[in-house]
Symmetry: C2
Subunit: 193 residues, 2 copies
Amino acid sequence: MNNQQSIPLREGIRKRQILSEADEKLFISFFRRTELKSKTLLVREGQICDEMYYIARGCVVSYQWVGNKQVTLWFGHEGDFITCFKSWINNVPSHEYIEPVEDCEIYLISRKDFFQLVNENPGIHHFYRVLLEEGYLYWENRASLLLFKSAEEKLAALLKRAPKAMSRYPLNQIASYLGITQETLSRLRSKKI
Amino acid sequence: MNNQQSIPLREGIRKRQILSEADEKLFISFFRRTELKSKTLLVREGQICDEMYYIARGCVVSYQWVGNKQVTLWFGHEGDFITCFKSWINNVPSHEYIEPVEDCEIYLISRKDFFQLVNENPGIHHFYRVLLEEGYLYWENRASLLLFKSAEEKLAALLKRAPKAMSRYPLNQIASYLGITQETLSRLRSKKI
DNA sequence: GGTAATTTTTGACCTAAATCAAAAAGTTAA
DNA sequence: TTAACTTTTTGATTTAGGTCAAAAATTACC
């Protein structure tokens, strides 16, 4: 990929790991830029997720169907590297959907290219390590919020981390992200004002 | 460390990443073996956790104080590499306690040695990557159980993964691991029989 | 610009699990 | 072997948040 066009991606990489100019160029050259309309599924259940995505613009939601209910697993937005990690790591079919909530500008790289680079290039390996550490801490934190916080506290924590969440995502997605119903979230919100 | 004495540790490493004989020897040589009586704190809140532990024998619990309640974050047992990752990764004080529940045989390595090896040795770097992937998937799974499973389903999931948990850990630790009270767990259990 | 479709709010009621309290069972230690 | 302590169980009651249903507010689209 032309280096000129990939400034947001470069920023996303630099935020995690500073590479030599050559390594950075090499790494970026394996990404492909694309645009996605909202609601155009990026990953669907049952499919092996063999790509990683960098969100340059827009936002997405990842969810799973539990009975007839859509449960939000996570939100992704500008600056995030995302994929279905369970599928990505173990090379097994995904259990989750990833869907743009706004129109997105995305940079994507194939699993094959990514792991080849990771295995050959120490700087890029280090980049992946930072990504994994970031994800580890994200999920640890999310689990601990779910473990012992009330609905109100979980909402406060989300709004602190992502103040715009309330206006970017529909209520039912935010509610199920917090592990509460949308009625409860609506009541919480009106109580707040 | 003498290679003869460290068979369990070697198994723990091999399960995650096959190293060359020389790399394996090198890696193991940086670990130190120790025994720990139950209830002898391994990590306490406020302390920077700059060691990683391999459990060769015994089991531990990690918990956090929330008000006057002890909340179980995770359990560790034979074959696990453990540390307070939040502290380990960011080099900040730990928010959690790690405490042996049974007498333990432990192999430990310092953060400094570990990261030096990781940065110099591609095989060991790969080992760390596998550890992070393992942890990532653990927490993702744990969060999703907490997100949409009932008390009964969460208990079933724990007993499936760790059938002996019920006899190794006190009830209050298991209950708070599941995000329920010990009264509820006791009632669930008696209902089961 | 008006109608349909979707999303959010509100209300009435219900329930899984929490809380509080005390009894029972198990463990330790003298 | 008994007293003291800890852990687990049982019972009565409460509550945060769920469920179901319908109204209100938004948004989408001929």
